[in-house]
Symmetry: C2
Subunit: 358 residues, 2 copies
């Protein structure tokens, strides 16, 4: 916990650096049909606006690999091609301008020669390859090494197949649907290699469970200094993945929330509609930020009661605390006045806008 | 990470053990008016049904302390009284049968004598006191020790005020609205005391942000062996707190999900309504469990594609994987047959019911 960050090699996925001293980036994967370039681009633009840094698309056939050219040329984000089995799809995706390829050399159906061709093409294009192992896809003969050992050996073996052809522009992933196994495998690998690591918990499920599982697993790894790029896997709209990913980085202090909004849980002491008020403040901040403006405040607080509110949130630049049908407005713990909730919110809004710049 | 659990003293909140080898329990706090016993009890019952182990209510005045008697006698969960400033509210709450009191001796307005009275009353009743410090409420003269040091010194100081009167049936909390500070403070304290610890991130905010923040903070602590009881603080219905708390325990392997449901993220390879299917399976499992029945399966998988599905989920007892408008049903990685999605779900349902017992 709070170890200094593992120093990995730096690679580039398009213009986005991954590893070394680069900021931890957020990834997602389109769930559109890659053959439909326009629909896929619409989704990529929405994900980019939400803060996604790198996007991956599935390339299940040659039509998808061709469509990739249009996607790459219209995408505001570097596009990673996700390939299984068929090295020709990898070659075609590289020709279409993919910023990276995700494939496991060990499962290419063409064997050794297809690995050589892919390594050569990616090398010539100057793009990285992500190799990875998921808990379920690891070779069964490696399971004797324990889960973490098996995943690590599997990934190192895949890397070696590329290294044999002089290719080391590699990023790796080790994922399990079990949080503890994911963490163990990533830590085990991190001690044995300096390849940059893409981290995540696989098959995390629908948002209710999946966000918690991912936050626990990815959060624990990031706080222990492991992880160069993350993906939250959810059975949901990929926008949810990006939002959760950004929140994980914010929670780990790896991305500034700008401003952070804190609000206390409601309790029997609360005499105002705190949930409603907190949501109004969040909506206000979100709408200012989505218009491209910047709020020069570090922390805004929305507190339930005057008893604890201003004191507990004394490090907030500004905040509201509820009283008996009233709210107090405070700045850095100092109470500025007591107002009706509507009026209090209006004043808070005014203050926030004062600190907003284009 | 993955340290063995810190060995704390065991205390009891009502019938619920906290600390030592006791399972990590989930807490929440009512946001109803404590003076309205019936409404509060309705909320407590809903929280108990959702899996809450311990409930806290605010006691802001004498009417609330009296109402507590009715709440305690009707509550399926041990009830903790939350007190600020006024030791008479603590005494009245103890007389009303509170299973524990949460207060800071240092902020009782009656000084030394009121601390003695509260310690004596709690001692006679055999109930514990939780003392705690939040980032904002720590005495400013302690801030020179750094955040973690200040929180720890503040809590140890509060404990000493009770210990002076021979009272050590204590549980502590150290919370900050910042994840890193919370973790740091709890680790710092954990090395210096064996009191059981209630952990959480305070003022985590509305569910979107708050669940992630809590999962990262509480998860990292639990995985490093710290934490005997947890509360997720959300500006939301306390039910959300309980659900998130249970999911954090499940993610950390501290409570069995029974059965765990895994589902992969959708991608361009998905040709069925995976989100819909995963939700149907979750709803089915939830409805069986909420009727008090037990499902004797460890893992159910809902996978997007036949390419990876059955293999990646080979440790699942049973699962579905999507194909071109079809699904395959598999058991421990072995494909049982290919069906229309409706039919596949019906068969999965039948299998799940086979393993369901009262």
């Amino acid at each position: 916990m709070f170890r200094s960050r593992r120093l990995s090699r730096k690679i580039f996925v398009g213009t986005v650096p991954v590893g070394g001293d680069a900021p931890v980036s957020v990834q997602s994967m389109c769930n559109t049909d890659t053959r439909d370039a326009q629909t896929t681009l619409t989704q990529i633009r929405a994900l980019a606006a939400a803060g996604c840094d790198i996007i991956r698309v599935a390339v299940p056939d040659m039509k998808a690999a061709e469509s990739l050219r249009e996607i790459v040329s219209g995408s505001p984000l570097p596009v990673v091609a996700d390939i299984h089995f068929d090295h020709r799809l990898a070659l075609a995706s590289i020709a279409s301008g993919a910023a990276a390829v995700r494939l496991n050399p060990g499962n290419l159906s063409g064997g050794e020669e297809s690995v050589r061709l892919v390594a050569e093409a990616a090398g010539n294009a100057g793009i990285p390859i992500r190799v990875g192992a998921n808990g379920g896809s690891v070779q069964s003969d490696l399971l004797a090494h324990g889960h973490a050992g098996a995943l690590t050996r599997s990934v190192l073996g895949q890397c070696a197949m590329l290294e044999k052809y002089g290719f080391s522009n590699i990023k790796v992933s080790l994922k399990s649907s079990d949080v503890a196994s994911t963490i163990e495998a990533c830590r085990y690998f991190a001690e044995r290699s300096d390849y940059p690591m893409h981290i995540g918990v696989t098959e995390a499920g629908t948002p209710g469970r999946g966000i918690v599982k991912s936050a626990v697993g990815i959060g624990a790894l990031l706080l222990s200094g492991i992880g160069d790029t993350i993906r939250v896997s959810l059975t949901a709209d990929p926008l949810e993945e990006v939002r959760a990913g950004i929140r994980i980085l914010e929670s780990c202090g790896l991305r500034a929330a700008e401003p952070e909004i804190v609000s206390c849980p409601t309790c029997g002491r609360t005499e105002i509609d705190l949930v409603g008020l907190a949501e109004k403040v969040e909506d206000l901040v979100a709408s200012i930020k989505s218009s491209g403006k910047k709020i020069r405040l570090k922390k805004i607080a929305v507190m339930g009661c005057v008893v604890n509110g201003p004191g507990e949130a004394r490090d907030a630049d500004i905040g509201l605390a509820g009283g008996r049908g009233k709210v107090v407005l405070f700045r850095r713990g100092e109470i500025m006045g007591t107002f009706d909730p509507e009026e209090g919110f209006a004043l808070l809004r005014e203050e926030i806008l004062k600190y907003t710049e284009c």
